[in-house]
Subunit: 336 residues, 2 copies
DNA sequence: ATGAAAGCGCTAACAC
DNA sequence: GTGTTAGCGCTTTCAT
């Protein structure tokens, strides 16, 4: 069975295509009787408009893209939920793309989008991203762009982040208050504003204790590679820390694996804290202290902002919104 | 800046649109010189074809939809990876949709697709789905369909599942071998073939021990609702089981919560096993015995099959492929 | 080897 | 209130 078109409906009813089109968009200028007849037949024939034709004609697709580094991550999973909630309400469709933390894939996805497939893009860039030309290209094409969480200084768009500095400060101070003095700080990607804020907070917290941050305790990992566990293990063995601050969940899970392997007890030998939205954090052994970002809210806020920008006719105002994280203290930071 | 079109390139070079079109698809009938000029200018102007125009004209979109119940679930997350791996290689795009286990959303998504947006659909139906007319409608429109994991008997398409019966049999026998005699069986949705296979295995395993399955120990939960935890708790309190077999991860996590609340020790008081691909299962307290489905392989197989069906001109042969699960024994089923 | 022209299915300006 | 027409950007006959 082929898809039924406006023309077929028009022919069957002896009216013109434009009348059918107008009737189905419930235009006020169509006779109520005709409208009924058309709508009924459309329903009967199970008419569904061809989205390509409509988009081609109207130059809008009522669709946005959501580009994230990794779907298998509770933070992004909840962001998606937030975005979808808003988009469902406002009748937009969401295309979800994941970059797997690969800059190449990020470019590929954006190239795919640039033809005009979407009206707007929501992105949390991958940790590899340094060259930002692909993002600027989006803006050049008048596709609206909003960044969230993993944002970049140099792009002129609205940005939604969490209060990374304040919460990392609080997290580091928690470790310090438990007596930790040799705290590893594990980053994922180096040039993201998000990571820099967290690192600055880490240093400032240590300074606030009258101590000097040891920069050799700070290490950047590339989440796009698989083989980093060996590096991490070597780093832990070399530094013999009494605590680890992870900026991303994946690193924290890696620490669990390594500590088990090395026979290091959490929290007795090493305390652990991480940015993470992992739902089962409370059931881990030991339960994991997390800084949970307001993922769902970030998704909702970002989507609302993007749609507002898409639909506004006036020059857009750039927003910079910060939402608060929640520090959830669990056993992994208990007094050893 | 507007998007550059074929016409603009044609005008600048003093050739016709069709020549440009052919040059850019690397047609053999275009002079090598002209082709070069056109391709260079296209690159220079950063030309990107309008996907709507092309799809409208060609009646194919090189895009497939992947519909899953929940993104926040490691099983589906890995399926996505498998699907994307195949699609990237074959130059297809993947639109990911989640139904949140809601039949209404499933219908809405499929209606959205029916206009011809995609060439094929990969679906794992939500546990609510009983009416299958929306799926048949896809087939009516000549959109290819492949079901995986959550499959339905009554739909005539290719299906990829895991060996649910055999692995549930093995899982149940594991519990029986540890001395468990009052094993709850928690289902998610009742009419899915997948669930029925698992339930049959559960019963058969008990029969094989010369025991009679107590049907009152089998209970179906609706994963689309939030408030089931109270039900689950009441059920556990009422039945006082010595083991629980969960068909989905979410129920197992619920069991952890409830056992903690009730002061029941896993595995001493209650043993626990579940179908799940949860990556941190090994770090849970206690570590969780899982039956892990070959998620990545399922995704790859399903995508390959779908693309083959899309591209084949001949009448399609229906495949029914089964892949093996892995039982990973951990502490939650240890001798108490 | 290249161009002219038709048309995919839809919307919207312009008639009447 | 309804029809006619043009055109969105592309591919693809059919000419030449």
């Amino acid at each position: 069975m082929k898809n039924v078109t406006l023309k077929e409906i028009a022919d069957q009813l002896g009216v013109s295509v434009s009348t059918v089109s107008r009737a189905l968009t419930d235009s006020y200028e169509i006779n109520i009787e005709t409208k009924k007849r058309i709508q009924n037949l459309a329903k009967e024939l199970n008419y569904h408009p061809n989205p390509f034709a409509a988009s081609l004609r109207k130059h809008v697709s009522k669709t946005i893209a959501l580009i994230i580094p990794e779907i298998s991550n509770n933070f992004f999973t909840r962001v998606i939920k937030g975005v979808e909630a808003v988009c469902q309400e406002k009748d937009y469709y969401v295309l979800i793309y994941q970059t797997d933390e690969s800059y190449q894939k990020e470019r590929r996805i954006i190239n795919h989008l640039i033809g005009g497939r979407v009206d707007g893009v929501l992105i949390s860039v991958c940790s590899e991203t340094e060259d930002v030309s692909h993002l600027n290209e989006i803006l050049d094409r008048d596709i609206k762009l909003v960044m969230f969480d993993r944002v970049l200084e140099e792009i002129k768009t609205s940005k939604i982040t969490s209060n990374d500095y304040e919460s990392a400060l609080e997290g580091t101070k928690l470790l310090l208050s438990k007596g930790c003095r040799k705290i590893l700080f594990l980053k994922a990607g180096s040039h993201l504003t998000t990571m820099q804020n967290r690192e600055n907070a880490y240093k400032d917290a240590i300074n606030s204790y009258g101590l000097k941050p040891d920069l050799s305790l700070i290490k950047t990992f590339s989440p796009s590679e698989e083989l980093e566990l060996a590096d991490l293990k070597a780093f832990i063995l070399e530094k013999q820390p009494d605590a680890i601050f992870c900026t991303v969940e994946k690193l924290a899970i890696g620490c669990y694996d390594i500590c088990k392997e090395l026979g290091l007890k959490i929290p007795q030998d090493i305390k652990l804290i991480t940015f993470s939205s992992l739902e089962v954090a409370r059931h881990l052994n030991p339960s994991l202290t997390t800084i949970a970002q307001p993922a769902y809210e970030i998704g909702k806020t970002a989507a609302n902002l993007l749609i507002k920008e898409i639909e506004s006719k006036t020059e857009q105002v750039l927003h910079q919104i910060t939402l608060d994280c929640t520090l959830i203290k669990r056993d992994s930071t208990n007094k050893g």
